[in-house]
Structures are given as C-alpha cells and as structure tokens.
C-alpha cells in the first residue's frame, strides 16, 4: 500500500493505493494441459509531492507474448508521466500527444532490439490496452487507449466494447490497423477530468474487472461466502493489509474439484485492479 501526503494550506491530501492482479482461468486452464501467462502489467507511483500515478496495461490475448509489452509499458508510462509532471507541475497542462509519442518511441526502441521484423515483434509482444489515473491536489485524471474500467467514488465506467471485439492498441501506430483507419481518434489518449475535492475513491482496471463486477452475487469457489460488490475494495480493510486485494482476487479464481472434474474459478480473463482512497487530513 502506497500513501502520499502533500500539504496545501491547512489541508493535506492523503492517497492510499493498493493493487493486485490474478491470471484468468482461460489463461491458467485448470485441469487441462497448457497455459498462458497473465498478460496484464501494472505500475503505481506515489511521490513525496503527493502526486499518485497508476497505469494498467492489458496485453492482446492473441499476441504470443503480449505480457512482455504490457509489463514494460506500464512502468515506462509512469516514468514518462513523472518526468512530464516534474516539468509542468499541473496535470491539466500535460500534453498527451507528446506523452503518447514518447511512449511509442521508447517501446519501439526496445522492440527494435528484439528481431529484424519490427512489425512482427510489435504484433507478438507489444499490443496492449492502456488505462491509468493521475491524482494531484488539484485534480484527478483518467487516461486510456482501448478498453478497461475506471471507477469514481465506487461507480464503474466500462470502456468499450469495440467493434469485432477489437480494441485499439497504442502500438498500432507502428503496425497500422483497420481499427485506427476507421477511427483515427482511437489512436490517442482520451482523458477524463475530475476535481480532487469531489473524489473519495478511484480505481482502474483491465476489462477483466467487468467479470469481477458480474460475479458479485456468486460465492467464492468452495465456500458459501458471497463475493460482494466492487465497492468493498474501496473500504479500509483493503488498505490495512497490502495483500488483501490480491487475496480477494486469488480466492475468486481458486479451482475446486467436482468429482473427477476440476472446476475453474470465477474470473475467465486476467483481472488487474488498482484502487485508491483519497482524503484530506
């Protein structure tokens, strides 16, 4: 759990953040041979200045190793945002086309070291959706390319679905894609802004969080305990123990034996969630 506090006259903004991920049952394939890695990546930064940045990237399930790109992109994007905010101070002045281009440039540099066929490397390793938030004393920003979920004061907003279940990926800027051809605006970060004083809690997640919302009235596998709504994640118990959120997700995906069959857990897709509570002390 990360905590950041900044002073502003008599008010100090405090942000507590927890984050966790669980591989989906359609990736770990319980009871069956073969598996796929968790294809999500995420990164969180809580700065002494009080600014909190979080990014979740969800690798393309059709990509051979798209977890590589997702796990590289998340911390790289956080770093770029830290650098930008250090210069511009106020998040509302961030130049998102610049940020996008810097991220593409850095990832392309890495991809170029991985093989002769840049297009293939990007398709195999670097296709992922991106969603994140920035919390400052002045405002809260959500930014995204692709699908996912963002949550404000316990209310989720689901991004997508996209035609043909084909979300836009940032690195289509390198490979090209009919997705961008149809709607060029999908190639750029979209931003939603809120005033921090109106915020009690925020969250971001990959599209796996939609499944988490859907199974809220089901029981944890092998128990009579109901999973419950997403809102519980923004309550103090989830911030008192930094492992609580991971355990919550892990319990949902525990496989159980039904006779000779292995029953998978509740979340078919990789599910990554970053949750933050905001208060003034």
């Amino acid at each position: 759990m990360d905590t950041a506090v900044t002073s502003e006259a008599s008010k100090r903004l405090r942000v507590q953040v927890v984050s966790a991920t669980v591989p989906g049952t359609e990736h770990i394939l319980p009871g069956r041979p073969n598996w796929k890695n968790n294809q999500d990546g995420f990164a969180v930064s809580s700065q002494p200045s009080g600014i909190t940045i979080a990014v979740v990237c969800d690798g393309c399930s059709g990509g051979e190793h798209s977890e590589i790109g997702a796990q590289l992109a998340a911390p790289i994007l956080v770093q770029i945002l830290e650098e930008e905010l250090a210069q511009r101070i106020v998040a509302s002045r961030l130049h998102w086309p610049d940020i996008r281009n810097r991220l593409i440039h850095r990832l392309t540099q890495v991809a170029a070291m991985m093989g002769c066929d840049l297009q293939k490397v990007v398709r195999d390793y670097f296709l992922f959706t991106t969603i994140g938030f920035i919390i400052t004393p002045e405002g809260v920003l959500f930014f995204y390319i692709g699908d996912g979920v963002y949550i404000v004061n316990g209310v989720p907003t689901v991004l997508g679905p996209f035609p043909d279940n084909a979300p836009p990926y940032l690195m289509y800027a390198v490979t090209g894609s009919p997705v961008f051809d149809r709607d060029p605006s999908l190639a750029h970060f979209r931003v939603r802004r809120y005033r921090t004083i109106d915020i009690k809690s925020v969250g971001i997640g990959c599209d796996g969080v939609e499944d988490l919302i859907r199974v809220s009235d089901r029981c944890f596998p092998g128990t009579n305990e109901v999973v419950g709504g997403l809102g519980q994640v923004f309550t103090p118990p989830f911030f008192e123990n930094p492992d609580r959120l991971r355990r919550f997700l892990a319990r949902m995906n525990k496989e159980t034996a039904q006779g000779s069959r292995v029953e998978p857990g509740l979340l078919p897709d990789d599910t990554t969630l970053v949750a933050a509570i905001v208060d003034w002390i």
């Binding site: 123990n241 492992d243 991971r246 355990r247 919550f248 997700l249 319990r251």
Partner: protein, 267 residues
C-alpha cells in the same frame, strides 16, 4: 481463534486428507482444540504476505533429555538439554539466513511444557533456553502431542490457504524415546494425520535420539513419519542431527524448493 472456526478448519482439512472419523473426532475434541488454540498466534488477516512458510517444532522435554549420563571415555557427565536448545535455535538461525525469512512463521511446542511460542513471525520466535523455557517436563506423551501439533499445522495451513495465501509447511518432531504417557491418541491416529503432511507442499520429519532401546525407524514408521534423522545419545551428535534438520528447513524455504529435499534420509 474462535473454537468453532478452528473446528471448522480442522474438519475441512481432515476431510480433504481422508482422515478417518475416529481420528477426526479426536482431533476436534474440546481438549485438543484448546491445546491447538493456545498455539494459534498470528492470523491470516494480520499476516501481510502473499505466501507463507509454516514451521512447527515439537521438542521432547522429557526427563531423559535432562538425565545425567557418564561418557564412558572421558568419564565426564553430560545431559542433552543444552544440545537440544542449541539445535532448536540453530534451526531458527538457518531459516533467518534464507531469502524468504520474511514470509516464515514459527511455533515451538514441548511434549510436556505446552506452547513455548504460538505462531509468530520468524524474527520474533523465541530461542529455547535450558533452565528457563526448557526444563524437565516428565513423560513422553509423543502420540497425544503429535496429534496436537499436526492439528495445529493443518489448521494454520487451512486458515491461510482459505485466505488466498500460498502455503508450505515444515514440521519437526524431536524425541529421545518411544511414547510414554499418551492417554488419548494411538499410533494409528497419528499415522492417519501424518499422511496429510507428506507431500511436496508439506514436510514432516522425525529426529530420533537413541535411547539404546527404541527402533526409531519402526517407531516413526508406525506414526506415519517417513522422513527421519537419527542421532546417537550425546550432545555433539544431537547438534549435528539438528544441523541437518536446519538444512532441510532452510532448503524448503528457498525459491526453488523441491520435494524430497532431505536427500539421503528416509525410514
């Protein structure tokens, strides 16, 4: 822990491990539950890690450990309590030298003296000190206490697993003689439970200090303990045997721990 919750954990664990009804009844009777509960210690909610290594030590504090014996060669008298204490503490020390020391919890019990320490984080585990927390306890209720210890391990493992934490366990039973004083449990009961701790995820070791009479291979086999270390009855040998046990404990706590890590030991 509430005894109803504890009983639920044990019934669940017993069912999963195909423990017979009579042994399950013994495991969950009021007296056993009370004894297990005394060693409960840190809860899953209090623990902040995503995986845990549960180490449990059952140490013989019967009179024979403290008995003065004459070394036939040196003619000097010796007893084994200091060696047992140092050996126990060496196990803790070996665990502290592993990378995963921060995700290890430990409990130490005595055959007669009860709980030296409930489950606590390794860094807080108390050392055994002869004359202080390790004194002559009397008999050797090995079977009764093995039921309590195995029950403690099963309950704590189930509690943490149910909370979504990855669990491995390592349990050591140190004794210098066959059972004397058990009133409730039989060897069959212990063997029935011990089967739950013989797997890649769980390890149960017996360390037998020769008393000149007991066939520890047979003794531990009857109790369902398949991995054992044997020692002659002198402080130096006991220290060596405990050192071997400490290597086993540390090996299982390394990131690439594999089953059968004792290498060369067996019943």
């Amino acid at each position: 822990m509430d005894t109803t919750d504890l009983k639920g954990l044990l019934v669940s664990a017993a069912s999963d491990n195909e423990v017979c009804p009579s042994t399950t009844a013994l495991l969950t009777d009021a007296s056993t539950l009370r004894q297990i509960n005394r060693g409960d210690g840190i809860t899953a909610d209090e623990y902040t890690g995503s995986e845990v290594y549960i180490v449990t030590l059952l140490v013989d504090d019967s009179g024979s450990i403290f008995e003065q014996r004459e070394d036939k060669q040196t003619k000097k008298f010796y007893s084994n309590e200091e060696a047992v204490c140092l050996g126990h503490n060496e196990i803790l020390g070996a665990l502290l030298g592993t990378k995963k020391r921060g995700s290890t919890i430990v409990s130490t019990r005595l055959l007669n003296g009860g709980v030296v320490s409930p489950y606590v984080m390794l860094e807080h585990a108390p050392r055994l000190e002869a004359g202080k927390n390790f004194v002559d306890g009397g008999a050797t209720p090995l079977m009764d206490q093995m039921v309590v210890v195995i029950g403690s391990v099963l309950a704590k493992a189930r509690e943490f697993e149910d909370a979504g934490i990855v669990v491995r366990t390592w349990t050591l039973v140190v004794t210098d003689g066959r059972d004397y004083g058990s009133t409730k449990a039989s060897a069959a009961d212990v063997a029935n439970l011990a089967g739950s701790l013989n797997s890649e995820q769980h390890q149960l070791l017996g360390l037998g200090v020769s008393d000149g009479r007991t066939d520890f291979k047979e003794e531990f086999r009857n109790l369902g303990v398949v991995k054992l270390i044997l020692s002659t009855n002198d402080p130096s040998a006991i220290r060596s045997a405990m050192r071997l046990a400490s290597q086993s404990a540390a090996a299982m706590n390394q990131p690439s721990a594999v089953s059968g890590g004792l290498g060369g030991f067996g019943a």
